[in-house]
Symmetry: C2
Subunit: 482 residues, 2 copies
C-alpha cells in the first residue's frame, strides 16, 4: 500500500492534449447512464481522477485539460498533490477514513489540536473562535445567521434567558420566540441555496424562483467603473449611494436587521467587488447599529486572491464579527468573535459538525501553502494574467472588458451571454476549462499551484480562441441559468 | 502501508473496562483546551478512535465503552470495521481521498456506477432517482423541500416555465416568485437545523428560539398508549383525530401546503411512532390533495429498525414521493420519483453535491449489511433487548415505561428528565453509552453489528444501575436541552 499511495507515479502534464470533443464519447455515455438517476445538464465532462495531476484534469476520454476553474474554486492544490498522497498513507488518517465522528458528542482526541493547528492557524485576525459545520458553504452561512440572531436577541434581552412566552411561541413559529429579524444582503450576491441562505442570495432568478423566502432587505451593490484608478470620483459616489441605502434600510425596513452579509467579491453574481472604503464603511454602519457583520469568504477564502482571506485587503480597524468558509478549505464553517458564542449549549449544533478527514486534508493544504509560499505565487502569476488580460482587452475591447480581480481570482466581461458561453465551450475544446458567472462574465479559479507555464498556455489559448470567435448576437433565454 | 491498513491488528474487546470516571482527566483536559475555541458542553468524552473497535469506543483515558448510541445513530458498522479498513487500502480510494469533486461539473467516471451500485441498490421501492447533498440531514431535507415547492408551482403553472413577473419578484423575495407555500410537519418532529428545516422542526424550544421561522402549519402527532396491542381502539381514535387535523390544516391554513414531512419514528422528539394505518392515511391525504409526501429517514434509515428503511413497515400501496437520508448512510441526500426532478437545470444544485469518498464507504457498508445479514441480526438482537426491557418495565414500572421501537431502534421513558440524565450518566460510568431524546426518554442506537453478547452486557448493566438509581425529583429547567 505504501508503494501505491506515496510512491505512485502520477503522470505529469506540461500542456493540454485533446483527443476528442469535450464531452467525448465516453463522457456522453456516462451522462446518458447518469441521467437515468438525476439531472446531468450541468456537467461538463467526467474525470479520470486517478490520471489527473497538478493543474491538469484528465477526462473520461483521455483528454488532458488545464483546469482554470478548479471545481468551482474548490481545488486548492490541484489534483493528487504529492504532499496529500504522502499524508494519506499515514496510519493516522485511517480512523478518520473509516468512520465519521459526531464531533459534538464523541470527538477524536486529535480534534482540539487540529482545530488549533489547522483552522486557528489561518484564522482571520481578531476572530478567536471557530465552528465547523456540515460540509458546504450553505451550512456555514446558515449557522452564522443563527449566531447573529441569537446574539441580537440576547442583547435585546440584556443577557437574560428566553422568556416562557418566547419558548412557547417559537414552537408555533410565531413571535416573539420566532422573531421578526432579518439579514441584509446585496443585489447580485450569492450566499448559498438552503432556505435561510437563499433568502440572502440575490444572484439569479433560477436560484430562487418558486422557493419561499424570508422578506429580508436587499441593497444595491456598487457598480464600479473600470479601470478603477480612472474612475475614482464616480466610484466613490456610487459606493456612497449604496451605503446611504444600507443605512436607510436599517432605519426603515419593517423587519429589523440582525446581520449584514457580504462577499469580498460577489463571485456567482459576476465577480463584482467594491473598494476597501465601501467595506470599511459597512463595518462602521454595522457597529454603530448593533448589527453583526458577516463576511462570506466561501469562494474568496484560502488564498485565491493572493491573501489568505480576501477581506485582509480592506485593512479594517475592527475585524468582521464572523467569517464563513468552505470550498478550497475542504471543511466548512465560520470564525467568530467569542461574544457570538451562544450562552446555552445545543443551539448551533448538529450530528457530525464537520468531517475530521477533510480537516486532515486542510492541515496538509495549509502546510503546503506556507512551505511553497503559494500566496506569493498566486499574486505573481495573477498579476501576469491580469496584465495580459488588460492588454487583450485593449486590443479587443468589443470582446473582453472590465478586467478585474486580485491574485488569480480574476474575471472579465464579454458582450453577451451567448458569446461568453461560446468562449467557454471553445476554450474547453482546446483543453482549457474556465468558469462563467453573472450574466456575461468569465471567471478564473485555478488551483493555488497554477504556475507561469500554465498562465502562458491560458493566455495563448485565449488569444487563439478569441481570434476565431465572432460576437454572438444576444440570445435571451426565458430562464437565465447559473 | 498495506500492512498498516489491512492487517493492522485492531484490539478486540469483549466487555467494558473502566479506569477513570467519564469524562476522565485526559478528556477534561481536552475539553478545557477545546473550550477556548468553541462550545464543549455537549461532549461526553474524547475518543481514542484508533484503539476503538467494533461496538466498543475507547476514550482518551483508556476506558473501554460499549457504544449503544453510535454517534447519534450514525455509526453503521461500529469502529474500524475490517471490511472498511481493507477497502480503504485499495488505490481506488485514493483519488477520492485527495480532493473533493464538484459532482455537478466534473464528477469522477466512477460516479454513475457508484450511484447505481450503492444508492440505487438500497433505494426505497418505487423511487427511481436519487440526489446526494452536502454532508448532513439538514441539506437533504432542505433540498427535498425545494423539490416539493418547485414541483407544486410547476403543476400550478401546468408545466409552463416561470413567468417574467415571477422571475422578477423572486429577486425581491416577494410573491408570486417567492410563493406563499408551506411544509406541514408534526409536533415533536425533528427535521434539521437550517432555517427551512428548522421551520418544520418542532422538537424543543432550544432548537428554535430566537431564529426566524416560516409561518408553516404544525399538526399534533398521535400520542399512542403502550403496549400497542392492549390499546388498539383508543390509539386508532387518537390517530384519526390527528389525521382530521391534517386535513383541516390543508384546507384552512393561510399558507397553502406543498409538502408533508414525517419521520417513521420521531427520534429527537422522544422516539414516538404511529401505526402503519396513520402513515397510509397520510399518504392518501397527500395524494388526494396534490401534496408531496416526504419521509425523513435521516435517523431511521439504513437498517436500525430491522428493515433497511423504516417506512417499509407501512406497506404503502403508493410509495412516498421522496425519502431523505444521512447519518448511518455516511452520505446525505434524497430518493425521489422522477416527476420531482425540476424541468430546468441548476435548481437543486451546489458546489460539491456530496462526497464521493463517503459514498465508497457506504458501498462497503451496504456489502457488509448484505453479506453478514445484518438486518436479521438487528431484528433478532433487537427483539431480545425489547423483551428484556419490557420485563424490566414490568418489574420496575416506576422507572422504565413505554418500551417501544423496532429492531435495535428502541426507547423507553423514565419518570422525569433528571432521572433520565442520571441514568445516562451512571451507565456511562459503568461503560455503556446510551442516548437521551425528548423530555424523559432513553434511546438506543447501537451499530448494526450489535450482537447478543453486547445485548447481555447492556441489560445486565442497566439492571445494576437501575437498582441503585433513586428516582430524582423533577428538576424543571428554564431551557429544556437536547
Amino acid at each position: 500500500m505504501k508503494r501505491v499511495f506515496s510512491k505512485l507515479a502520477f503522470p505529469r502534464y506540461e500542456k493540454p492534449a485533446i483527443r476528442t470533443e469535450i464531452p467525448g464519447p465516453r463522457s456522453r455515455e456516462l451522462l446518458k447512464e447518469m441521467d437515468m438517476l438525476q439531472e446531468t445538464r450541468t456537467i461538463n465532462f467526467f474525470m479520470d481522477t486517478a490520471k489527473s495531476q497538478g493543474t491538469y484534469a484528465v477526462d473520461a476520454d483521455g483528454n488532458v485539460i488545464l483546469d482554470v476553474f478548479g471545481h468551482i474554486a474548490s481545488l486548492p492544490l490541484g489534483y493528487n498533490h504529492p504532499a496529500l498522497a504522502e499524508a494519506a498513507s499515514k496510519p493516522e488518517w485511517l480512523p478518520f477514513l473509516l468512520q465519521r465522528h459526531a464531533l459534538g458528542v464523541q470527538p477524536p482526541v486529535e480534534w482540539p489540536k487540529e482545530l488549533r493547528e489547522t483552522l486557528m492557524r489561518v484564522a482571520p485576525k481578531g476572530l478567536s473562535e471557530v465552528l465547523t459545520t456540515c460540509g458546504c458553504g450553505s451550512s456555514a452561512n446558515e449557522n452564522a445567521f443563527k449566531a447573529a440572531f441569537i446574539w441580537k436577541r440576547a442583547r435585546e434581552r440584556h443577557g437574560s434567558e428566553p422568556t416562557t412566552k418566547e419558548l412557547m411561541s417559537c414552537m408555533q413559529n410565531e413571535a416573539p420566540g420566532s422573531p421578526q429579524k432579518s439579514i441584509l444582503s446585496f443585489e447580485r450576491s450569492f450566499h448559498g441555496r438552503t432556505m435561510g441562505c437563499l433568502s440572502a442570495t440575490r444572484s439569479k432568478p433560477i436560484h430562487k424562483v418558486d422557493i419561499p423566502a424570508f422578506p429580508w432587505p436587499v441593497c444595491p451593490f456598487p457598480h464600479l467603473s473600470y479601470p478603477l484608478h480612472e474612475h475614482e470620483r464616480e466610484n466613490r459616489e456610487e459606493e456612497d449611494r449604496c451605503l446611504t441605502r444600507v443605512e436607510d434600510l436599517i432605519r426603515a425596513h419593517p423587519i429589523p436587521v440582525a446581520g449584514i452579509i457580504v462577499e469580498p467579491i460577489l463571485a456567482e453574481g459576476g465577480d463584482h467587488a467594491a473598494t476597501p472604503y465601501f467595506y470599511q464603511q459597512l463595518r462602521r454602519i454595522a457597529t454603530s447599529n448593533g448589527i453583526a457583520f458577516i463576511v462570506d469568504e466561501v469562494q474568496t477564502g484560502c488564498g485565491g486572491t493572493g491573501k489568505f482571506w480576501a477581506h485582509e485587503y480592506w485593512q479594517l480597524d475592527t475585524p468582521p464579527d464572523m467569517v464563513t468558509f468552505a470550498k478550497k478549505m475542504q471543511v466548512s464553517g465560520f470564525f467568530l468573535k467569542s461574544e457570538f458564542r451562544p450562552a446555552q449549549a445545543y443551539r448551533i449544533y448538529n450530528t457530525w459538525m464537520g468531517d475530521p478527514l477533510r480537516m486532515l486534508q486542510l492541515h496538509v493544504i495549509a502546510n503546503v501553502i506556507e512551505k511553497e509560499n503559494l500566496l506569493t505565487r498566486v499574486s505573481d502569476t495573477g498579476n501576469f494574467v491580469k496584465m495580459e488580460l488588460e492588454r487583450i482587452s485593449r486590443e479587443t475591447p468589443f470582446l473582453v472588458a472590465n478586467v478585474r480581480g486580485s491574485g488569480t481570482f480574476l474575471a472579465f466581461d464579454m458582450p453577451n451571454a451567448a458569446t461568453r458561453d461560446q468562449l467557454l465551450f471553445e476554450m474547453r475544446q482546446k483543453g482549457v476549462q474556465m468558469g462563467g458567472c453573472g450574466e456575461v462574465t468569465i471567471r478564473l479559479r485555478p488551483p493555488l499551484i497554477f504556475k507561469q507555464q500554465d498562465a502562458n498556455i491560458l493566455i495563448e489559448t485565449l488569444e487563439l480562441v478569441l481570434k476565431n470567435l465572432k460576437a454572438h448576437s444576444s440570445q435571451k433565454e426565458s430562464l437565465p441559468i447559473h
